[in-house]
Amino acid sequence: MDLNARIPSGPISEKWDKHRFDLKLVNPANKRKFKVIVVGSGLAGASAAATLAELGYHVDCFCFQDSPRRAHSIAAQGGINAAKNYPNDGDSVYRLFYDTVKGGDYRAREANVYRLAQISNQIIDQCASQGVPFAREYGGQLANRSFGGAQVSRTFYARGQTGQQLLLGAYSALERMIGAKKVKMHPRTEMLDLVLVNGHARGIVTRNLITGTIESHSADAVVLATGGYGNVFYLSTNAMASNVTAAYRCYKRGAGFANPCFTQIHPTCIPVSGDYQSKLTLMSESLRNDGRVWVPKDKADCRKAPKDIPPSARDYYLERKYPAFGNLVPRDVASRAAKEAVDSGRSVLDQGRSAVYLDFETAIARDGKDAIADRYGNLFDMYERISGENPYTTPMRIYPAVHYTMGGLWVDYNLMSTIPGLHVLGEANFSDHGANRLGASALMQGLADGYFVIPYTIGNYLATAKQGDVNTDHPAFKDAEKAAQDKLKRLLNVGGDKSVDYFHRKLGVDIMWEHCGMARDKQGLEKALQMIPELRERFWREIRVPGSSSEVNLWLEKANRVADFLEFGEIMCLDALNREESAGGHFRLEHQTADGEAKRDDENYAYGAVWEYKGDGVAPALNKEPYTFEYVKLATRNYA
């Protein structure tokens, strides 16, 4: 597997400029001769589709939702980082770069991260000019707030709905191009396979989710922006339909899958309340600006009402353990600390359920209820709707939940995967966040990739690949269509008696969360690697999918996605087992310091682990992209 990252030479601050000059261009008249497929319409997909269409390419954009505006980027709450240094508190491109590499526990590629930090400022300009209603100061300037893992205020936000507002900005740009007939939009259409001709990505096979029709679409290049795979855990903050299928099918067609074990557990989510639970709801990390996390010092106090526990009997454990960052430590650190508190028997929920308090008492006493309502009103309302408790008067109960996946398809500096012509953007790739993503960086990466990276780098591919015309009559399309069709038929014909959710929950909750969740060890991972194939085998014997493949069939869609999770989960566990160190979101119990912090092994594991498909029932091959750190000095992360 060729893992040449194609990082431009020269000083890090000049790489991107130099590279943009070195990239081959497609002249404006020729752009209209090229067709690009964009799969996904979230921040990365919508911004890419709109921008490529503005440049003159023909774009076909696909999403499985009923409208591109509903992609799950919409649910991001807190904000988007940029190195504007508007508050004059010492921020710079270099600091954002440094914080991101450090926050990612030194498991990301320096050159990509630096470019991300450079582009961050342009993103804010672009979005503001589109009419994104960012929060403002009274003087009319943009407002900033602080987020975990940073000591400067560099997060731009639109109340607690920043993802929504940024996505609607990208969506409006996309709709403008759809109206101008430069983009053909295919909503309610799910990608089922990638089609390669002469080793290049030349199209996709899709299923129309209304009619059930399997269709082929050819193009000169394919851009995948299909998000993360957090739903392998069944319960996560992802949308219900978020899935790994598109990325996984590309993996099976030869794209390397990098660092799948790097998953982010978000510290502030509403805890699980019962077996019927279908998803978990995130409460924005921004709440940690003013909220204080605690559990009672004494287990015996756990069933008492929080107001009856005096401050002296409360353990504000983040402030105690990390005095410098306090409640604003990075997500992985905060999550593990919550688990540690609960494991010590101090959960503040009964019946074996886990939770810690996030308390606004101090902030309300200091700033007043109105100021807090102004900052977090919609989040407090949401909490109240779900939990039935009023967070103005009683502390929120929170617990970590799966939120984001840093791993993804391997890409080079041009965001191209190991399959020529297949480009991967946003959460679907692995490039920028290492082993842990800092808050407010996902929106930044999605938009950077879509607005400002792919428009340049795809031109270079198109100008140099020279693959000629291919249409959907090519046998490669027919074969892929048949394979997709056969798989759906197979699912419908099992005729067992268990629902798809039964298997999804077993995989996610009983195996992945249990053994490949917040803390992992060799024994558990090996057990998981034994359980997954067994469950997969049962799935193909016992599942019942109602209806047919030629109609709206939500259960068939789900079963097809879960079938891929049942294979993909194994690669995650293999990766977690291989990585004999703790880094960011990947915490191996065997590798921790005396005081329970993650212990990296830079000697042996400073690489991206890239898994290569070798056939069904055959172990995937491990390839390595070594990480070299020229600018950021490798050090143990210290937030104390």
Partner: protein
């Protein structure tokens, strides 16, 4: 939690496809107050699956009230009885043991029913494509702070921009009018200096697209705003009326 068990009867609109007539069918199920409304339906669907019956198709995705995908008229109210709450965030504690609950899809000519409770809302996308944007290509934007926008103005724009495109306004309107949806976008963009340039064309084109899609007209009942899970103010319709009249009377050219 057996003491909290609620026994409820659901009357659910079942319709095989766009051309099927459709009818209400009744189901008895159990729930508890901590479940979300959709989780209650998930449980019912699992029961239907185990009895080899066709489960109820409904749209949903983020289940945190922001994607706008969920769409059900519950007991005659879009998104159910709780104000400012989408169906996915509605919890069973808003109902009680023994309740009968009617669940129907959005009914509007512009939102054809796909199956059961799923409807096609692509009309909204076409309305946005007709002008619900600021025509700024990627790149070349001035520094974000170069266009100062007052806090109050930004906050007001946000109130309109918060629309999630769910269509509850259309579902609640006796005339299936989309004026609140269109008004919210026109009002959002009209609040900003960068939205001024295409102001007239936007209002005219979006209203023309809205009419073409077959939405009804506004009769100023205010049902839309009261059904809106994001509490988009009715003022949006005032802004739309003014923007439209102003654009037509001044010849419509930006």
């Amino acid at each position: 939690m057996s003491d909290e068990t609620m026994r409820i009867t659901l009357h659910v609109w079942r319709q095989k496809g766009p051309n099927d007539r459709g009818s209400l069918q009744s189901y008895k199920t159990e729930a508890n107050p901590h479940m979300s409304f959709l989780e209650m339906l998930d449980v019912l669907n699992e029961q239907l699956l185990s009895k080899n019956e066709d489960p109820i198709a409904f749209d949903h995705d983020c289940r945190e009230g922001i994607c706008g995908m969920c769409s059900m008229v519950i007991n005659g109210r879009p998104h159910g009885p709780r104000n400012a709450t989408t169906t996915c965030q509605l919890h069973m504690r808003s109902f009680k043991d023994g309740d009968e609950i009617y669940i129907e899809p959005w009914q509007a000519k512009a939102f054809p029913i796909i199956k059961d409770l799923m409807v096609d809302r692509s009309a909204f996308d076409r309305v946005i494509a007709s002008g619900g944007y600021i025509s700024v290509g990627t790149g070349g934007a001035p520094d974000a702070n170069a266009i100062p926008i007052g806090k109050k103005q930004a906050d007001e724009a946000f109130d309109y921009a918060a629309c999630i495109g769910c269509g509850a306004c259309v579902a609640a309107c006796p005339n299936a009018s989309a004026m609140l949806f269109v008004g919210a976008k026109v009002a959002h963009l009209s609040k900003f200096p960068q939205g001024q340039v295409e102001r007239k064309g936007r209002a005219l084109n979006m209203v023309a697209a809205m009419d073409t899609e077959g939405f009804g007209a506004c009769t100023n009942h205010g049902e839309c705003a009261s059904a809106c899970p994001k509490e988009i103010p009715l003022e949006a319709i005032m802004v739309l009326n003014r923007e439209y009249a102003r654009a037509q009377l001044s010849g419509g050219e930006d």
